[in-house]
Amino acid sequence: MSEQLHYALFTGCTAKQSTPELLSSTLAVANKLGIKITILEEASCCGASHLQDFDEFLAHVLNARNICYAEKLGLTMITICNTCQLNSAMTKHALDKDPELKARVNEKLGEVGLEYKGTSEIKHFLYAIIDEYGLDNVKEKVTTPLSAFNIAPFYGCHNIRPTELHGKSNGNENSYNPTSLDNLIVALEGNPVNYSHKNKCCGFHVELQANHTSEVLAGNAMVDAIDNNADMMVTPCPLCHLKMDTYQDSVGNVVGRDIALPVLHMPQMVALALGCTESEIGLKFHVQKAKQIFTEAQPA
């Protein structure tokens, strides 16, 4: 790398609450790769599509405010949650193409001395690693190859759909045949599991109001991964992680199968291969037992 990469990190809510392992592993990976991270301590919740359902304009104002802080630093904003990525990018897209909406949002932001300009890109950390750091460079840093593991990539809807929104920031990933996470697994010397549900929905967003739908969708994906010999699943989205790690018993009851499959966050998998510490990777925070993966990964 000729020039050090430097990003503004939008943590989102989950990394600050139920998935502390996502934040610690992200920072550990950035540190190993020599990527500089400035955490956007001012940034608030993205609304996760639910606030958008209630009050779309308000959600645009709050997301535009978050982006303002990345713009002030003159940095690309990176996200570590697919849903944060989607909702931040949707606001950027809406404001950049609609000057009238942008003016209305800026009128509100002006009241607190902020202005949305549209100068910062928004990118998920997965694509920052692949498209800007480069997989060849990642390969060179691998100290703990993941060759012992069959890893099922689970892409998560909000990084790949709608294609029109994400095309520029996700290297034109095709939502019907995504490859980025597979390529990352290969770069870390793991064995990617090919299964048809890799680009499907986990059901997280209707966990409360349509629980049966949610459980069936998560179950279909997990059973497909298991039937294709996955030892673990990996996802760039902490909401997919929460759905599939936390609810394995009830999901198993609904789809009529025993399910026991560790679900790693994408940065945890990278951290494992780069030789980060056990506490940085944070496998102890998983509901489905995953701590053994750290031991199994260590070279004999």
């Binding site: 609450q17 940034a43 359902d53 308000l58 759909r161 349509a210 018993d249």
Partner: protein, 335 residues
Amino acid sequence: MSENIAGATTRKVTIKAFRFNAETDYLPTYKHYTMEVGKDELILDLMNRIKWEHDGSFSYRRSCRHGICGACAIKVNGKATLACKQNAIELLDLFDNEITLEPSSTKRAIKDMIIDKSDFWEKHEAVKPYVVTDVDPRPEGESKQSVAEFNNFLDSDLCIQCGACHYSCPALEVNDAFLGPAAFAAAYRFTVDPRDEAGKERLQTTFESAAGVWDCVKCFECADACPKDINPIEKIGKLHNMQFEQGIAVSNVATRHAEGFLRGIKKTGFLDEADIVTYSEGYLGMYKHVGTAMKMMKSGKIHWHSGIPFIKSIPEIKNLSELQKLIEISQTNKL
């Protein structure tokens, strides 16, 4: 790649196709057809060639050949495809030369690519997909609408009822009552039409639990499936907002889940993960989550004090008062 007499390059491929006859077959089979595919051929051309050059019994719907009738919608490797609009080589490239033709919904197959679309039409009809108004037979003037009013529904008006989004929707796969993205896009299109008078009724129909927009899983499959770029899920989002604006949304687990995001955001800037569950479900509904909460506590994902008011379990963002002011001056909807 090989070259034919005209010098145009073609590619030799083997296409897999779903074969099934509901009258005689218990299970479907997949048959292989090998052919040279040219750069300008469409998926529809390949289906024609299967029928004309290989097996005359191969069945599919086709009509306009101009992407306007919606008859030839199928799936190629799970991707919703309007056969007369989709270049074949493009898909062969995307799927490493291995493509499988299937009907839009294998479980609704009648013969090969032909499906029973009755569920689609029933759901479409349920939202009254037409302008509802008393037409004055001797009007004094024209019924005018502004460019802005027209633009509101211009894109959703382009729907050709092909069913690509409907049969790509995973919520519909699980939940038979769900109306689905095509019906919602139609509900939106007529509700925002200034001539129409059935808007409230449609907002009520699309509010119902199980059938309505609140059972949408937010996967955005419909946005990618639509051959007309209608973006049905964007219309679903608009219906959500309109249900609040027009007082249709009543307090239930789904609407509290949406509105409740603000409770945590106002307090710390972050969503309060424990509070949102308690607030959405109500204290009585919490029994469903006790088991999960115990497991999450055991692994350190949540803490004994999570969700208890007056105990600070969540960090605060910097400049919180600025955010609170923005919410105060920007909020437009109420539950």
